[in-house]
Symmetry: C2
Subunit: 259 residues, 2 copies
């Protein structure tokens, strides 16, 4: 979805898209990182809400109405004086079953490319998040978290069969690394991976790369969005996970005593 500076409009649009995905049969729906307000550090404090707030009420009702598991992308969460980049995960009953706070903040300064200091405004999460659902065990990470292989390995050792990733790479890191990192995390850990990006807004302050993906446990891209608004669908076949893990048994062949 295209994220604008208008919070009301963004919530309304998210609702329309989630309803459409649900109508077409989606049982687990993932919204992009910062779907309620654009990735502009100066506006995040204004957009921020506590966990109990308008955004969470909206997401809860939407999950319940559509009867789907819903990963509410992420939003700036306020707790006391602190802000976090937080993803809420809802059951089809509209209950929060997991909360992930982005662990790794995006602080980079690439010459001739992107410069961004997320930690000037946000604090970082302290915990990995793997949640048990009727659809399988699902691990959550947000955007820059994808650059740290340790996190995803820990989640697969905690039983994850699928990773969901609200994310917003930019026009420097996107072309260079988006597919590479998403595919390798899925392949190394032999899980399905769904990553949801905001649509590209060429005139935005932060130009997201787009290209939401579904990747299978062999590291293959099975579905890919273009740069505009688009819902993409992936069938998650738990038998395929077992098959890949049996044929190429890397998870059993690890040598933790050596590392």
């Amino acid at each position: 979805m295209l994220v604008t500076g208008d919070k009301e409009r963004n919530l309304k649009r998210a609702g329309e898209l989630v309803r459409e995905a649900s109508r077409k049969g989606a049982r687990l729906i993932v919204l992009p990182e910062f779907f309620v307000c654009p990735l502009d550090l100066s506006v995040l404090p204004d957009c921020a809400e506590e966990i109990q707030g308008k955004i969470s009420t909206f997401l809860s009702e939407l999950a319940k109405e559509t009867g789907s598991y819903l990963v509410g992308g992420s939003f700036p969460e306020r707790e006391g004086e602190r802000l976090y980049n937080t993803s809420l995960f809802y059951s089809p009953e509209g209950i929060v079953i997991a909360k992930h706070r982005k662990i790794h903040l995006f602080d980079v300064d690439i010459k001739g490319g992107i410069s961004f200091q997320e930690s000037k405004v946000l604090d970082s999460g302290e915990e990995t998040t793997v949640v048990e659902t009727e659809l399988g065990r699902i691990g959550i990470g947000i955007c820059y978290d994808i650059r740290f292989p340790e996190l995803w390995r820990k989640m697969v050792l905690q039983g994850a069969e699928m990773f969901v990733v609200p994310a917003a790479f930019n026009m420097t890191t996107g072309p260079a690394h988006w597919h590479l990192l998403m595919r390798t995390r899925a392949l190394d850990n032999q899980v399905y991976l769904a990553v949801a990006s905001p649509a590209r807004d060429e005139f935005g302050k932060y130009v997201a790369y787009g290209h939401s993906l579904g990747v299978d446990p062999f590291g293959k891209v099975v579905v890919e969005a273009d740069i505009g608004e688009e819902i993409v669908y992936m069938i998650v076949d738990r038998e395929r996970i077992e098959k890949v893990r049996e044929q190429l048994p890397v998870l059993r062949q690890r040598r933790p005593e050596v590392y």
Copy 2:
């Protein structure tokens, strides 16, 4: 290089290629996995030698003659009753400065693709290998070792600035994963990576994928061989390593207390 069933021929050919690379200015030269005998488990025991043997004498003299650092691909090493897939690393004086025994053995059984059980014949190494040279600190892994992100992370935490990888993917795993894994290990750890494959022998028992690569610390392929015999050259710029690590400081931003 093309690896044949004739050990003498393979050593001779390796000598010619190493001399040519050296003449053209290479200071660190990497031969492919099992450059002395083809990847055919039934012939490995016959081809095997102890560390002190014909192969090591040959490599030592070659390193000394050319005045180059030489990673002698790998060969089947015999120690008592056991066999290992071993890489010897020589200084320009012809001294062994490191020995890496492949840690993860290639045991896979992909339906409609490759089936291979390396552990039926070989034993596995127990240690990571990072060696200090005048050119920088270099970590070594062999082929299937590349599938385990923990190993490469450990080596970078031990100070590696470059990875060298004698390897021989096949016609199932090569097209699916070769570039993906090599690029991501380099990118995640912000090192140069050089991977050397045997040339493709369509009539061999094990058909290697070829495509020897040089990858930079931003995960970009800077040089790539085709499927035949070919020497490829990469310039390793240690300042670029520092620059990438400064601009995208993932190694500092790790959160080991969380994983």
